[in-house]
């Protein structure tokens, strides 16, 4: 919408500028001293046109400035919370990987910065609400079809994603990642857009919180939750089972068995917010349900199949397709 308005205004400026140039060129002719009445009328008419054009130009600039201000104001209230953070590669004798520790949280009107570190890997997630200088790099896909810029390699680098409706995200890392660049892309995929009050609640006590529940959403018969805190990590929960966004393979759904007040259901979570989820039940019947965004600003979608005659220990496969 904003781009459309800006385009219209730019076309108007061009038209106004062309007419203004013509008017000025003719004015040198109008300045002759022997001009008569009718010529005076023409002169004043053309001067009026120039004045009107100038006013229109000034007005257009004002509208554009206001529009940009509103756009930035919308991004100004936007923050993000990560639902998944990369890890360093395991040491050779380690059975499991330890996670990165959240070492600092800084925030002001312009930018939020979350810093994570271990001895071998440091990573920052910066969330800008003002314009920043972009950089050259390779294009990579994030969040189900959006484009981001990557500069660097697996040992160190930075990734910039300029979300259409939110702030600009820059992820910087130094040190080897457990799954290379895919780890950083998974981080960006898992970012959840939140408002200022949620951000404040999540960061007020150094990322420790008193209440673990960030979001609770009813989808059909089941509850879909975002729980945890920044220090322990946020996790998605469906029907009491937790999972991270990075565990969802592209083109597939995570299947969960959910219990609710109104019965039980098969729940599918996808890596894209809208589209469809289709299951073939054991009796051979196909059922398709629309995906809905998990929460506002999420790259995840969720679909609920409300049918309770299936075995929770042997869930049928679900196929997810993104809407085109």
């Amino acid at each position: 919408m904003t781009e459309e308005l800006e385009d219209r205004l730019r076309r108007t400026y061009r038209a106004v500028a062309e007419r203004t140039t013509v008017g000025a060129g003719e004015r040198s002719v109008e300045l002759r001293s022997d001009v008569d009445g009718p010529r005076d009328a023409t002169r004043w008419s053309r001067l009026g046109l120039v004045a009107a054009a100038a006013l229109l130009l000034i007005g257009g600039l004002a509208v554009l400035a206001t529009t940009r201000s509103e756009s930035r104001s919308s991004a100004g209230s936007a923050h993000v919370l990560p639902t998944w953070i990369p890890t360093a590669p395991p040491e050779s004798d380690e059975v499991s990987r330890s996670r990165l520790a959240l070492t600092s949280i800084t925030t002001d009107d312009a930018v939020d910065v979350l810093t994570y570190a271990s001895d071998s890997l440091a990573l920052t997630v910066s969330v800008f609400r003002t314009s920043i200088d972009e950089f050259d790099g390779d294009r990579v896909e994030v969040r189900g079809g959006q484009s981001a810029t990557v500069d660097g390699d697996e040992a160190s680098g930075r990734l910039l994603w300029d979300g259409a409706e939110g702030p600009t995200i820059v992820v910087e890392w130094t040190g080897a990642l457990s799954n290379g660049l895919a780890s950083v892309i998974a981080l960006v995929d898992g970012l959840i857009l939140v408002d200022e009050s949620t951000w404040n609640a999540a960061t007020e006590f150094g990322g420790f919180t008193e209440n673990w529940e960030i979001y609770r959403r009813r989808v059909g018969a089941v509850s879909v939750d975002l729980v945890g805190d920044l220090q322990s990590g946020l996790q998605l929960f469906v029907g009491g089972n937790g999972f991270s966004e990075s565990s969802i393979d592209p083109g597939q759904c995570v299947r969960e068995f959910g219990g609710g007040e109104d019965g039980v259901a098969l729940v599918a979570v996808s890596r894209f917010p809208t589209g469809t989820a289709t299951v073939t039940w054991f009796d051979g019947i196909d059922e398709t349900v629309d995906l809905v965004p998990f929460v506002e600003g999420s790259a995840l979608g969720v679909a609920v199949f409300e049918r309770d005659d299936f075995d929770p220990a042997n869930l049928p496969d679900v196929r997810c397709e993104e809407s085109q």
């Binding site: 996670r99 990165l100 520790a101 150094g206 990322g207 322990s232």
Partner: protein, 180 residues
């Protein structure tokens, strides 16, 4: 029976620790209400203002049978009875948020087989250390301890358990515990 209850409580405490949440209780436990007198046979191994960590024998139950363990002593009150591994009747992990007069202490102790016993150090976050400050563990008789003594007015937010590679083993919230 009481041993079983003690072990169960300790196990639940360790489970809560493993899950990174302290169970939702938002006040300090009064030492006089949860502790027991310390046997005079106990040997002090670490001490600071307001507490001692002692190794010795503690009675458990009405049968007055003694078991070996590591106990935190606040004032003259013993809190808990931890391991070491293989000790009959002793817990493999213990957690307490205890107040005795002006002294407030968060104690987490684990045996070698307990969760996160490979901790290298802690980083504690609070109103007095909003960017975190490092705290070294106390290792005694095969057990590892976080003993966090609050400064006057300090309200704890949480603690990070950090491994030898600087990675996060566990984060445990204490948000809601008051600063007095």
């Amino acid at each position: 029976m009481r041993r079983a209850v003690v072990s169960l409580c300790a196990a639940l405490t360790v489970l809560a620790t493993a899950c990174g949440n302290d169970g939702g209780s938002h006040d300090w436990d009064e030492a006089s209400e949860i502790g027991e007198p310390v046997l005079p046979a106990a040997d002090s191994t670490a001490a600071a203002d307001g507490y001692e960590l002692v190794v010795g024998f503690s009675t458990s139950g009405d049968d007055a049978e003694s078991i070996g363990c590591v106990t935190l002593v606040v004032g003259d009150i013993g809190i808990g009875c931890l391991g070491p591994d293989g000790t009959d009747g002793a817990a493999s992990g213990w957690s307490a948020r205890v107040r005795n007069d002006e002294t407030r202490i968060i104690w987490n102790g684990v045996t070698a087989s307990g969760s996160f016993s490979d901790v290298d150090h802690f980083v504690v976050w609070s109103s007095a250390s909003p960017d975190g400050r490092r705290l070294e563990p106390i290792v005694e008789s095969g057990t590892t301890h976080l003993i966090w003594v609050m400064e006057p007015g300090e309200a704890p937010w949480g603690v990070q358990w950090i491994d030898e590679n600087g990675g996060l083993l566990n984060a445990q919230s204490f948000v809601g515990l008051p600063g007095s």
